[in-house]
């Protein structure tokens, strides 16, 4: 069986406007944010104008319990350099028990990813409540630095 890692050519880079300097590599982090806490926390970070690197793209889900470990694998497959799953602190879940399951699923998932050779820093899970704008900012900044140190992710994805 020839290991054919078909190369899906990158979609043509978004037409950077001429005067932009050659962009240093910006890690691409996919974030799953629970609508009631973390997404609100991110909104609060915005309301309070807390700057953080533009490397994260948040996907809103009703509850962190909605995030399927397979979404995380799919994100890495399609080229994410890091994945963050964030939700309410245990006990604060708007649906009362959603994040208890998140905790179990992603504790197991993180170890499986590590076991498969993925650097643990690329996959993070955090509890960020609606009033913790600064914590959201700090989490994204920290994660971006970690992943910048690691460089682009070459594992589990369409190899260029």
């Amino acid at each position: 069986m020839s290991l054919n890692t078909e190369a899906l050519p990158k979609s043509q880079e978004v037409t950077a406007s001429p005067e932009a300097a050659p962009q240093p590599w910006e890690p691409r982090i996919v974030g799953f944010a629970c609508n009631w806490c973390t997404y609100a926390g991110a909104d609060l970070a915005g309301l309070s104008r807390l700057q953080y690197p533009p490397s994260i793209r948040l996907i809103r889900v009703p509850c962190s319990g909605r995030v399927n470990p397979q979404f995380v694998i799919r994100a890495f497959q399609r080229g994410a350099d890091g994945v963050l799953v964030a939700g309410c602190h245990p006990g604060d879940c708007h649906y009362s028990t959603g994040n208890y399951f998140t905790r179990r699923r992603f504790l197991l998932m993180q170890r499986l990813l590590e076991y498969m050779g993925m650097d643990p820093r690329r996959f993070q899970a955090r509890w960020i409540s609606g009033s913790e704008g600064p914590k959201f900012q700090q989490t994204v900044t920290q994660m971006t630095e970690d992943i910048k140190a690691l460089g682009p992710n070459r594992k589990m994805r369409d190899v260029e």
């Binding site: 069986m1 020839s2 054919n4 078909e6 899906l8 050519p9 979609s11 399609r78």
Partner: protein, 333 residues
């Protein structure tokens, strides 16, 4: 007949590798399969490979077309990379027959598959005969295959114990033997006797009998133990069913062909959920009827060359020779 000493084979292969993209049976870690030759790599020229050579011409996953859209405009490109001149070295007669049968499917009856053809035409075949069953599960002799010799190749090597007897079977074969004449010397040879096969199914008239056995209860019995996995079809050198799917990312993507198995439950599921082969009975029956009735009706050959791979790796030991025996024992009213 020209002969070459087995010990000089790796030197010969080094020589060939310079000109051809050489594929040889390797048995490194993991399953034995045909892989590009690396001088000093583990070349295993005794016994057949677990993974058949069909993958060389009909890869398990093969990108066919690449497309991109720009608003309403779009572009389409066929991904036909003609491989460098390649040589398949060390194919066994059962696999040679299977390649011959794949040719029926992909190259005849008014349709030529360009992806298959582009690889098949550029491949120089060198086969090696067996002097008996390579594995306990082999039964090629009963399926009309001469284990010692195959004809539909460029060069055939007879296994003479310490050396191989080389016979050209095509002009390219002649040219090849001339080119590498230095490796060969002329000698009178005596073909060894073919040793006894453990499995000897009698396929005489089986196609005609199967034509009246579509609703026979035998299929219910036989199919109960099948798990519906695809191991037999993916290891079978002659199975050639495939599915075409694609992947779109933003405004571009590609179409690819990949193996599919008639044993999978969703293989014949239609839009809307109807499935003409809903249970294992239909699927197992279809697999054996295709091999022993439909294919011979259409192309004249049984779609089974007796390599025994399915028998050796089936999780529940589904045995085609036993099924042929049971079909033979059935009395039709």
């Amino acid at each position: 007949m020209k002969t070459v000493v087995k010990s000089k084979i790796s030197a010969l292969l080094d020589e060939i590798a310079k000109e051809f993209n050489l594929l040889v049976p390797t048995a490194g870690d993991g399953a034995s399969k045909f892989a590009p030759y690396t001088s000093g790599g583990q070349v295993s020229l005794d016994g057949r490979t677990l993974l058949p050579p069909k993958d060389v011409f009909f890869p398990q996953t093969e990108k066919m077309y690449k497309f991109s859209t720009d608003g309403m405009a779009g572009s389409l490109e066929t991904l036909l990379e003609a491989p460098k001149h390649q040589m398949l070295f060390g194919v066994r007669p059962c696999d040679v027959k299977s390649i011959h049968e794949l040719d029926h499917v992909f190259l005849t009856k008014g349709f030529v598959d360009e992806f298959y053809q582009s690889k098949r035409d550029r491949t120089f075949l060198v086969s090696i005969g067996c002097n008996g069953p390579a594995e306990p599960t082999c039964f090629c002799q009963s399926m009309g295959v001469n284990p010692q010799e195959s004809d539909a190749v460029d060069v055939h090597l007879f296994d003479l114990g310490s050396e191989y007897g080389a016979v050209a079977k095509s002009e390219n074969g002649e040219a090849f033997l001339q080119k590498y004449a230095s490796f060969f010397n002329e000698a009178e040879v005596q073909l060894p006797a073919i040793s006894e096969f453990a499995l000897k199914p009698d396929v005489e008239g089986i196609t005609e009998k199967l034509q009246q056995m579509f609703d026979h209860p035998l299929w219910e019995e036989v199919s109960r133990k099948c798990l519906g996995c695809g191991a037999c079809t993916y290891l079978c050198p002659t199975c050639h069913c495939f599915d075409i799917s694609g992947r779109v990312a933003g405004n571009q993507g590609f179409k690819f062909r990949c193996w599919d198995s008639c044993m999978f439950s969703e293989y014949t599921r239609m839009a809307g959920g109807h499935n003409p082969r809903p249970s294992k009975k239909e699927r197992v029956r279809n697999r054996f009827l295709h091999k022993l009735q439909y294919f011979p009706e259409r192309y004249g050959d049984l779609l089974c060359t007796g390599c025994g791979r399915c028998l050796s790796k089936c999780p529940v030991n589904m045995d085609i020779t036993n099924i042929i025996k049971q079909i033979r024992e059935v009395e039709l009213a």
